[in-house]
Symmetry: C2
Subunit: 246 residues, 2 copies
C-alpha cells in the first residue's frame, strides 16, 4: 500500500485545533489539488472562498449551528457550486444559460464540488494537517451568501476547517463493506443484518472513546432523516436561480 | 511537494486503455479509499457497484451516449446516492424517513458521492492506473437503474472507468486560478478577462494536441448549458423518491 492510499483509508475528522497559522505555501498546494480536479464537461463550475479572518470564522461557526472548531482552526474554505462563472461563458458565446434551472445542473455541480472538497481534505492531510468537513453551513445558506458576497447562480454547499491538530483522533468504524461495495448488481439482502451489526459496533466505539451519549447508527440517522433538515436549502437555492423545475 | 499532492495536481482523464485486468487486490484498495471517506452526519449514504462483466460495460458505454472507453477499460464503478440504506436504519429506529424528499437530501448525498468518486480516482492513479469520470450515465438513469438492479431511493450519479492506460495524455489547462480561489469574499471583477484568456489558452491547447475540432471554453459550455441537458435526471429522480419538493 502506498502513502496516498494510506491517507485516504485513514481519513478522520478532527475537531480540536492549535491556533498556529497554516502557511500560504501549504494553502496554495491544498487549493491547487482541488483546482486540478475534473469537472463535468470541463465546466469548472466550482469555486472556493478561503477565509482566515477571525471574525468571519466566528460568524461561520455560528451559522453552522455552533461549531467552535470553525472559529478555532485558522483556515475555513467554503466550496461553492458556481454557475455564475459558466453563465458569463455562455453569454460570451451569445447564448442564454438554462442548465442551472435543471436538477441535472444541481447534481453535476454538487458532484464536482464533492470531488474538490475531497481533494482539499486529502491534500491537507498529506501535509500533516487536520480537517473536518462542514455541511452545517447549509443550515443558513443565505447567511453564507451574504457573508462571502456570493452572486446569483452560486451556492455554498459545504466547507472544511484546516489547521494543525491539537490531538490525533481515532477513526470512526464504518458499516460492513458489503453495504458499500456491490459487484455487478446491487444486493439488498445483507443490509438489515449489516445495519444491526453496525449499530452494535458503533455503541462499542462510543464506549471505547468515553462518549456515554453516543447512540446507535440507526437512531442517529433517524433523528436527522425523519425530517427535511436544513430546510432552507431549497428556498435559498431557488432564490439563487437553481429552480430545479427541469 | 509530496506524492499525494503531485497525483491530485497532475489529474487527467484517460480515454484509451489496455484490456489487461485490474487485480482484485488493487480494486480492494481503491474501493477501501472511497469507503473510508466521510459522509454527512455519518449517514453512509453512498454505495458503489463494481462492474467487470464485458457485456454490461458495453451496455453502459451505449447508455452514456457511445463512450467506447467504458467497454474498453476492464472495470467500471458506478457511484450511487443511497437513501435506501438510510431508510432501513430510520425504520429500524421506528421512524419514517423524509430527508430524501428534500433538496438538502439530494445535495448532501451527491456531495458525499463526489468525495467517494474523487477518492476512487486518486486511489487508482496512485497505483499507476488510468481513470475517466463518466457523468454520461445520467443521460438515461433509468437504464442504469435497470441494469444494476438499483432499489427505490437510490440514484446513479456518476461512474468511473479504471484500467491500465494505453498512453499517457497531457493535462487540459484550467482557467486562471483566481477564477477558482477567492480570499475572504467572492470577487467577480476579474472573471470576464480570465474567461477571455482561457478561451485563447484552450484553443492553443487543442492545436498542440492536434484537435482541429476543439472550440473555446465559452462556446463549449454554451453548447451544453443553453439547455437542460440530461433532462431525464429530474423525472427519474422523482420516480425513485427524490421529490425535491422540500
Amino acid at each position: 500500500m502506498n502513502e496516498t492510499l494510506r491517507l485516504m483509508q485513514a481519513h478522520r475528522s478532527n475537531r480540536s485545533y492549535k491556533t498556529d497559522p497554516v502557511s500560504e505555501q501549504m494553502l496554495d498546494q491544498i487549493v491547487e489539488a482541488a483546482y486540478r480536479g475534473p469537472t463535468s464537461v470541463n465546466s469548472q463550475q466550482v469555486s472556493l472562498v478561503v477565509v482566515r479572518d477571525r471574525a468571519k470564522r466566528a460568524r461561520i461557526a455560528e451559522i453552522a449551528g455552533g461549531q467552535p472548531w470553525i472559529a478555532q482552526a485558522p483556515v475555513f474554505i467554503t466550496v461553492i457550486v458556481d454557475f455564475h462563472k459558466t453563465r458569463l461563458g455562455v453569454e460570451k458565446a451569445g447564448e442564454t444559460q438554462v442548465a442551472h434551472e435543471s436538477l441535472e445542473g444541481v447534481v453535476a455541480g454538487t458532484l464536482d464540488a464533492g470531488i474538490a472538497l475531497g481533494n482539499l481534505m486529502t491534500a491537507a492531510r498529506s501535509l500533516g494537517l487536520g480537517i473536518v468537513p462542514i455541511g452545517g453551513i447549509r443550515r443558513d445558506p443565505q447567511a453564507m451568501i451574504d457573508l462571502l458576497q456570493l452572486p446569483p447562480l452560486t451556492f455554498p454547499v459545504a466547507g472544511v476547517c484546516v489547521g494543525y491538530m491539537a490531538e490525533e483522533v481515532p477513526q470512526k468504524p464504518r458499516m460492513g463493506i458489503s453495504s458499500f461495495r456491490h459487484d455487478e448488481r446491487y444486493d439488498q439482502e445483507a443490509l438489515p443484518s449489516l445495519i444491526a451489526a453496525y449499530d452494535e459496533t458503533l455503541m462499542q466505539y462510543w464506549q471505547q472513546i468515553g462518549r456515554p451519549d453516543g447512540v446507535p447508527w440507526s437512531m442517529r440517522v433517524a433523528e436527522y432523516y425523519q425530517k427535511a433538515y436544513f430546510s432552507k436549502v431549497r428556498p435559498v437555492a431557488v432564490k439563487q436561480g437553481f429552480l430545479c423545475d427541469k
